[in-house]
Symmetry: C2
Amino acid sequence: VTIDQLETPALLIDVDIMERNLQRMAAYAAANGLRLRPHTKTHKIPALGRRQIDLGAVGLTVAKVGEAEVMLSSGTPDLLVAYPTIGLGKLTRLMEVARRTRVTVALDSFEAARQLDEMAGEAEIEVGVLTEIDVGLNRVGVTPGPELVDLVRRIVHLKNVDWEGIAYYPGHIKKMDADGEAKMVALSDTVARAINDLGDAGYTARIVSGGSTPTWMRSHEVAGLTEIRPGTYIFNDRNTVNSCACDWEDCAGTILCTVVSTARPGQMIIDGGSKTFSSDRLTGSTEVTFGRLTTDPAARFHAMNEEHGFVDISQSEHRYQVGQRVRLIPNHICVAMNLHERVHAVRGSEVVATWTVEGRGKLQ
Amino acid sequence: VTIDQLETPALLIDVDIMERNLQRMAAYAAANGLRLRPHTKTHKIPALGRRQIDLGAVGLTVAKVGEAEVMLSSGTPDLLVAYPTIGLGKLTRLMEVARRTRVTVALDSFEAARQLDEMAGEAEIEVGVLTEIDVGLNRVGVTPGPELVDLVRRIVHLKNVDWEGIAYYPGHIKKMDADGEAKMVALSDTVARAINDLGDAGYTARIVSGGSTPTWMRSHEVAGLTEIRPGTYIFNDRNTVNSCACDWEDCAGTILCTVVSTARPGQMIIDGGSKTFSSDRLTGSTEVTFGRLTTDPAARFHAMNEEHGFVDISQSEHRYQVGQRVRLIPNHICVAMNLHERVHAVRGSEVVATWTVEGRGKLQ
């Protein structure tokens, strides 16, 4: 089967680009003595998790228990749930996962740790815990200081969880410009402070685990870091390019669309909108565009409804006809993957495999 | 089962509110002599399509062939595909649908009509066609004038399609303020012009079909209109309230979330983000918020990542704890439905049914 024979809209993954991305990250982690525990939210496909393990990843990262359940079939020796897992139902399911592979949970409240400890005790399974610290994203995480030390002290006293260290996600660092450089320095200072405060209180963080893709190549600059959890790097997207963490030719994921209307001069409508790309805008940018045409960067995909993509072609030298096909790099490949039941692995114009996105829509 | 026992995040549909919404629209259509052909993209559930038929709808509307295939099981006597259906694969599947129910396609190019006619001829099935006109949204549709008359002339000459009339979608009319009132007048003028131009050329539009939910109660003001295709009205959402087409108590769809972090003062993080709500912003507004807490409108859901909702509670009188649950009305219920494999029908605090969103993710 060739790409021309696929129905649209369809999400395509260029396997050669993907493999290059995987190997680049594996080599970086190895060269810098960092454990690699990739976040699988980007691909949501156990076979790709398996490939990450085969290339040296020590384990895999997920956000939700439902994703952990799916990712078990990768055969990973270790799963980090980088999300506070709250409530009896979810924790019961998590213990089932923990019977089959080592599980660690990143959390930021004693309530989450207490619930986890209770369920682990009932299940007679030891579960790891990382304490999430806030490094500037202002999302989850405890700000380093007395509160962090106090939380770790209480967690260490729990019987059925093994406190392993700290985790953070520097999602506020979008780009390595002057602002990003300053934020990298602050990040390193914040992590060092957390490690030192905890060390002074007698708690040694065996694991210091950090995201993300935009900052991955600077991870070795963070003092004390032992592990990285990039996710998007497997495919990359417009956000990754905008963050200067990759080039256009490193984007493995594209969305194939058909032109369905050219009724309005200077515009074409494509058969992909928010149901296909997601309505995520570019992060860290005021520009409102939703994808880049691989063969026509002058075309502006500036608006969308659920099934309609509005592409301004008034500045383009290309002419488009109803039925013609285009490929676009989405703003955010992770959320796009979540919208597709199946995606197609391609090499050149050949479709070499069709993958079910098994972790799609696992909200719980 | 009660709502308290559900895992989160979960999408809940209040069946009493839904039924009232359905009956209100059915009564309006009947009172004004308008055919009702609801757009099922909002619910994507055949049983709810069946309910719409039982309440007097003449048929159902879908955007994609995949949705048409799913909606067949509602037993609808008629399906309008309100989207240009392009390409051999999709048209082959559409002919299979057309063997089981009457099918009409809304399109705006001769190329789309030609492809449809060819496939209908091969399948020996007559398919209806509505010519889409642009009434100001600047999306799909031909602007009324000589070009429209010419397109209809060419379609009428095709042997295997039955030209039935025109369709439009007034998605640019967000709200019935002064601007909306002016746009309603322009809409009526545009539709009248299309009908007259075509009539002068000898083509009588038997069907004049218009969307949408924000304008539904003004549909009878559009001269010549024979049919309405509202979708969102079955559930409503923040956009519908903002458009003044319903009140908060008419919103049947809410998303149940759990507070997973309160580490940062004045903020809570809930376990629903763009994977649960979609990242759709409010339409026709510069406000960046993603949902309204049913019991705490002073809380501001102002930012999101895939699994994290950032809620500013600095202006709220409520205090929240990790593990507590909240319900939110999403900005756009249609895209939220598309993200949930199953949703729960509720009456008060009871879960009365769990529905599979069968039309979810039918991109093609």
